[in-house]
C-alpha cells in the first residue's frame, strides 16, 4: 500500500469530484444542500461547467456528445439526448474519450525516425521540419518511381476526404481504404440484388436472422438499442447463427452453433424452402423482381437435408426458420452484418442473404429493409482538377474485383503487389488513421512490406505498431480538439451534425486538413486544399441557409423527422440495377461472369488435430486502436484464446494455461480460456492485442496478436480479407 500522501491532490480530488454542483433548488436532495454539502467537506464555490456539443470519433457510429469541461479541462463526456441515432447512450469507448485526450502515450509532436525502421527510436521535430522532410521524401519517390510509387492508405473519418484529395492531387493511382478489411463483401452482396445497400428496421421488425453480427457485444450501435428493445419486450424473435455463444446468441430466441464457413449452405437451403414451399411473397416478387425461375433451378439441389450435412443444423429447423421468416414478412429480415469476410465465398453468402430478403418482399417496408436517405450537403466550389495519373493502379480493380468499389481497393492485393514490385515498384507508404499491422492478416508480411519501403509516413494520434515502422509520424488533433466539417447521418432519418472542439489542442499536433495543406504547399499543389474547415462548413450548410451555430443548439439539424418507407415501391420506380428491378438473379454478377445463384463449396476440412481460428471484437475496443486507453485497458488488459472444454481436455489445457498456437504463417503464445461457449472445432481470438510498440506502454506485449497467425485469404469477388480460413494447432506450453 503506497503511503504517499499528496496533500494537494487530495484537495483537488475532493474538489474535482464535487465541483460543478449548481446551487439548484428543486430536488429535495439538493435541499439537503448546505449542511449536507458542508458535512462532506466540500468547497462552497464550485468550478463552472461548460458543455460543448460534439460527435464522438472512437468508432464509425459517431454518437452525439455533450462534452463537459471545467477550467479548460475535459472532465466528462455525456451522451447528447437530442441525437436521433445514438439517443442518449454512450458506450465504454465514448466514455473513455477523456483519456484519449489526456493519454500520456499520445503522440505529442511530430516525430522523425532516428534508429532502424521498426526500432521505435524517434526524435521530436517541429512541424516545419517534419512537413519539409515528408514532402521532400514524397517528391523523391515521385521523381524516382512516378506518383504511383506512393501508396496512400486511409480509414473512414470526417477529415479523410482531405487525405484523398491530397493523394489525388499528388497524382497517385494507388489509394486503398478500409472496406476491403471491413464490409466490402456485404455491400457488394446486397448491392448485386438491390442496387443499394439497405438499412434494417430493427425497431419495428418481428423476426430477424443474424449470422454472427454480434450487435450485443462486439459493437454497440443504435441497432443494439433496438435489438434489446424488441427482444426483451417480446416484439420480435431473433435467430442467431454463430459458432460461438456470444452475448447476442445468449439473448436470442434460438442459437444455432453453425459450423464455420457453411452459412451459405444455410441461406441456399432457406431460399430453397421459400421457393419450393411457395412461401415467398408472390405478389411482391412478381411486381418488383426478376430472376425467380433461374434461382429456383439454381437452388434445386440445396435442400435443407443437404444443408444439414454441411451446417450441422437440423433440416427441420432450417425449414421452420424459413417458414417463420415468411410468416412474419414483410416485418422480417436476414441481417447483413458488417465486418470482414469470414471465408473466400463471403460475398456469395451475403448475396444469398439479400436474395432471401428479396423473396420475402420486405424491401422498403416498416420492419423490413429500406434504402437509407441522406441530406445532400452543399459542396465547396474549387476550380481544380486532380491530374490524371499516368500510371495504372497496381491493383486492377476493374479486372479483378469489378463489383467492389474501385476507389476502396483490395488491401491484400495491394500488399501482395507491392511485395512483388508488380507491375512497378511502390516504395512510399502514407497511412492515415489506420493500423495495418493489426488489421491485415499475417503481420510478418506487413512488416516485410514496410521494410521494403523507402519512405513511410503515418498520420495518427497514437504511436501504433504501424507508426513504429514509419520514418515520420505526423500527429493529428484528437476529435475533442477539432472543429470538423458537417457530418451527414442517415439513421434513423437523415440529419446533420457537426464536431466542435471542446478544448484547444493540448500538444503540438495539427488537424488533418492543416497537415495535408502543409504538404500540398510544399509539393507544389496548394490550390487543391486551399480552404479552411469553416469555409467548407459554410458551403455545406448553404443549401439550408444555416450556419455552424444553428447546429449547436441541440447538436443536430434535420428537415425530416422520421423514416419514410415505401417511396421506391411507387409505380414506375426504377431500381438502380441493370434491369431496373430487384434482381434475385443478379445481372451485374452475370455480366461479370459470376454465378447468379451461388455455387456452394464447403470450407476446408479440418484435420483431426487442428482447429479453425475465428476472430472477433468486443464493445471496449475499436479494432486495434484503443487497447492502450487506461480506462479500457483496466477492464481488459490482455486477451485469451477461447477453446472448448473437450478440445482443451484432449490437450490437457486448463483455463489460464499458456498455449502455443501455430498456423502456417506464424505462432503466438497466449493464455487459454476453457469454455463451453464455443464449438469443439474452433478457437476464438479477440482482436487487437500484443502490440509491438513500446510506446503503447500499457498494452505492449500483452496477450496474443491474431494477425500473427492469420493466413492471407480474401473473398474472391471483392478482395475483402477473409479472416476465418486459418487452421491452427494448439499446444500447452510447458513452463
Amino acid at each position: 500500500m503506497t503511503k504517499s500522501k499528496k496533500k494537494w491532490s487530495r484537495r483537488a480530488f475532493l474538489g474535482a469530484s464535487t465541483a460543478g454542483i449548481a446551487t439548484v433548488g428543486g430536488l429535495s436532495l439538493a435541499s439537503g444542500k448546505s449542511k449536507f454539502v458542508q458535512n462532506l467537506g466540500l468547497p462552497t464555490e464550485f468550478a463552472e461547467s461548460k458543455y460543448t456539443l460534439s460527435v464522438c470519433a472512437n468508432c464509425v457510429n459517431k454518437c452525439g456528445l455533450k462534452v463537459k469541461t471545467q477550467n479548460g479541462r475535459v472532465v466528462k463526456i455525456n451522451p447528447n439526448p437530442h441525437f436521433p441515432k445514438s439517443r442518449s447512450m454512450l458506450c465504454a469507448k465514448g466514455q473513455a474519450g477523456v483519456q484519449v485526450l489526456y493519454d500520456k502515450d499520445r503522440v505529442k509532436s511530430p516525430l522523425i525516425r532516428t534508429g532502424p525502421r521498426g526500432s521505435g527510436e524517434f526524435r521530436k521535430a517541429t512541424w516545419e521540419e517534419a512537413l519539409n522532410y515528408t514532402a521532400e521524401n514524397m517528391q523523391k519517390i515521385k521523381d524516382k518511381y512516378g506518383a504511383g510509387g506512393m501508396l496512400f492508405a486511409s480509414t473512414e473519418g470526417i477529415q479523410e476526404e482531405f487525405f484523398r484529395e491530397f493523394s489525388a492531387a499528388f497524382g497517385s493511382p494507388n489509394h486503398v481504404r478500409h472496406p476491403s478489411l471491413c464490409l466490402a463483401s456485404g455491400n457488394t452482396g446486397f448491392f448485386s440484388v438491390f442496387g443499394k445497400v439497405p438499412g434494417f428496421d430493427v425497431a419495428n421488425t418481428k423476426y430477424m436472422i443474424f449470422s454472427g453480427a454480434n450487435r450485443l457485444e462486439s459493437f454497440i450501435t443504435p441497432d443494439t438499442i433496438d435489438l434489446i428493445d424488441v427482444i426483451k419486450n417480446k416484439k420480435a424473435k431473433l435467430i442467431v447463427l454463430d459458432p460461438r455463444y456470444t452475448v447476442t446468441a445468449s439473448k436470442a430466441d434460438v442459437w444455432l452453433p453453425i459450423k464455420p464457413g457453411t452459412d451459405l449452405a444455410f441461406y441456399l437451403a432457406l431460399i430453397h424452402v421459400l421457393i419450393y414451399e411457395e412461401l415467398y411473397d408472390k405478389e411482391f416478387v412478381a411486381k418488383y423482381t426478376q430472376g425467380l425461375e433461374e434461382v429456383k433451378e439454381g437452388v434445386a439441389k440445396y435442400t435443407p437435408e443437404w444443408a444439414e450435412g454441411e451446417t450441422e443444423i437440423p433440416a427441420n429447423q432450417i425449414r421452420e426458420i424459413a417458414r417463420e421468416l415468411a410468416f412474419y414478412a414483410p416485418r422480417a429480415f436476414v441481417y447483413k452484418g458488417r465486418r470482414t469476410s469470414w471465408n473466400t465465398n463471403d460475398t456469395e453468402m451475403r448475396q444469398a442473404m439479400a436474395m432471401a430478403n428479396a423473396l420475402i418482399g420486405n424491401w422498403d417496408q416498416k420492419g423490413g429493409i429500406y434504402p437509407k436517405q441522406s441530406i445532400r450537403k452543399g459542396e465547396m466550389e474549387l476550380d481544380v482538377w486532380p491530374p490524371f495519373p499516368d500510371q495504372d493502379c497496381i491493383v486492377p480493380m476493374e479486372e479483378k474485383h469489378p463489383l467492389a468499389n474501385a476507389a476502396d481497393g483490395a488491401y491484400l492485393d495491394f500488399r501482395e503487389k507491392v511485395m512483388r514490385d508488380d507491375p512497378y515498384p511502390v516504395r512510399g507508404y502514407f497511412v492515415y488513421k489506420q493500423n495495418p499491422m493489426h488489421s491485415l492478416p499475417d503481420r510478418k508480411k506487413t512488416i516485410e512490406m514496410l521494410n521494403k519501403m523507402e519512405f513511410v509516413a503515418v498520420c495518427d494520434i497514437y504511436p501504433t505498431d504501424t507508426a513504429m515502422y514509419a520514418d515520420v509520424i505526423l500527429p493529428e488533433d484528437t476529435y475533442l480538439e477539432r472543429n470538423d466539417p458537417v457530418i451527414g447521418f442517415k439513421d434513423p432519418y437523415p440529419f446533420l451534425a457537426v464536431r466542435q472542439a471542446a478544448v484547444p489542442r493540448l500538444h503540438d499536433t495539427q488537424t488533418g486538413l492543416e497537415i495535408f495543406q502543409g504538404l500540398a504547399k510544399r509539393l507544389g499543389f496548394p490550390e487543391f486544399l486551399d480552404f479552411t474547415i469553416e469555409d467548407l462548413v459554410k458551403a455545406q450548410l448553404k443549401p439550408f441557409d444555416l450556419h455552424r451555430e444553428d447546429l449547436l443548439v441541440t447538436g443536430i439539424w434535420t428537415n425530416q423527422r422520421e423514416t419514410v418507407f415505401g417511396k421506391t415501391l411507387k409505380e414506375g420506380h426504377r431500381f438502380p440495377t441493370p434491369s431496373g428491378k430487384i434482381e434475385i438473379a443478379s445481372e451485374r454478377f452475370r455480366r461479370r461472369g459470376l454465378d447468379v445463384v451461388p455455387k456452394y463449396r464447403p470450407p476446408e476440412m479440418i484435420p483431426k488435430d487442428k482447429l479453425r481460428v475465428i476472430v472477433g471484437k468486443n464493445a471496449l475496443f475499436t479494432h486495434a486502436s484503443n487497447q492502450n486507453n487506461p480506462w479500457l485497458h483496466e477492464l481488459m488488459p490482455t486477451n485469451r484464446i477461447w477453446i472448448s472444454t473437450k478440445a482443451a481436455e484432449r490437450r490437457m489445457i486448463k483455463s489460464g494455461d499458456w498455449v502455443k498456437v501455430t498456423s502456417p504463417v506464424g505462432e503466438i503464445k497466449i493464455q487459454a480460456e476453457v469454455t463451453e461457449k464455443i464449438r469443439t472445432d474452433c478457437v476464438y481470438v479477440p482482436h487487437g492485442f500484443d502490440h509491438m510498440s513500446k510506446m503503447m506502454s500499457r498494452v505492449y506485449g500483452q496477450g496474443g496478436c491474431d494477425s500473427d497467425i492469420l493466413v492471407t485469404r480474401e473473398d474472391k469477388i471483392t478482395g475483402n480479407a477473409a479472416l476465418h480460413e486459418t487452421l491452427v494447432s494448439v499446444q500447452k506450453l510447458e513452463v
Partner: protein, 182 residues
C-alpha cells in the same frame, strides 16, 4: 420523505462496460478500482447454455453495516436527503473496517488519498438535474433510478409492475438496489 433507489433489469445487460467507464470518468475513480461491477455468469453445457450479467454497486442500504462500524462517523446515511449512504472524506482515516463490513464488497480504498470511497448515486449530478452516470450512459437502459416513495417516478412504476429481488437480504442490510426477476 424521498427514498432513492435503483431498479435494474439484468436481462438487458450486455456486459458492455459502458457504465463502468462512465462511472470512472464521472467520479475520478482511480485506475484499478471500481465503484460498480459487472458479474457475468454462464451456465450449462454446449450447446444448452445460458448467460447473464448482473450489474452491482453500493446498495445504499437502509441499515448499512458500513455506517454501523465506522469509528469516526465518516460513513453516514443522509436521512433527510434521500437515504444515500455517504462518506465524509474529511473524517475518514482509512481504517478500512467498512470495506470488510460490506457484504457487497462495494467499497474501495483510494491509495493516493488514504480514504475509502464508493458509489454516491452521483448525487452531484442529481443537483444538476442529471441522472447517475451509469444510468444515463447505458445503451439498453438497464438501470432506472428514482424516488420510489414517489408513485409517479419511473422507478416506482417499475416496482409496481414487476417482481423484484434484493441481494443478500439475510445479511439484514436493507439494500436499495432492486433487481427485476420477471
Amino acid at each position: 420523505m424521498a427514498r432513492y433507489a435503483m431498479v435494474l433489469d439484468s436481462d438487458k445487460c450486455l456486459n458492455c462496460k459502458a457504465c463502468q467507464v462512465a462511472c470512472t470518468a464521472e467520479n475520478h475513480v482511480p485506475v484499478g478500482k471500481h465503484r460498480n461491477v459487472l458479474h457475468q455468469t454462464t451456465r450449462g453445457v454446449f450447446p444448452e447454455l445460458s448467460m447473464k450479467t448482473d450489474p452491482g454497486q453500493c446498495h445504499h442500504c437502509d441499515n448499512a453495516p458500513c455506517v454501523r462500524v465506522c469509528p469516526t462517523g465518516a460513513s453516514f446515511i443522509n436521512k433527510d436527503g434521500g437515504g444515500f449512504v455517504m462518506i465524509d472524506k474529511e473524517k475518514c482515516i482509512g481504517c478500512r473496517y467498512c470495506m470488510l463490513a460490506c457484504p457487497y464488497d462495494a467499497r474501495y480504498y483510494d491509495e493516493e488519498v488514504g480514504v475509502v470511497d464508493k458509489c454516491t448515486f452521483c448525487f452531484h449530478r442529481l443537483a444538476e438535474g442529471l441522472e447517475p452516470a451509469c444510468v444515463e450512459t447505458c445503451p439498453t437502459k438497464v438501470r432506472v433510478f428514482g424516488d420510489i416513495d414517489n408513485p409517479d417516478t419511473e422507478a416506482a412504476k417499475l416496482m409496481r409492475k414487476h417482481s423484484t429481488e434484493q441481494k443478500k437480504l439475510e445479511a439484514g442490510t436493507g439494500p436499495n438496489l432492486y433487481y427485476i426477476i420477471d
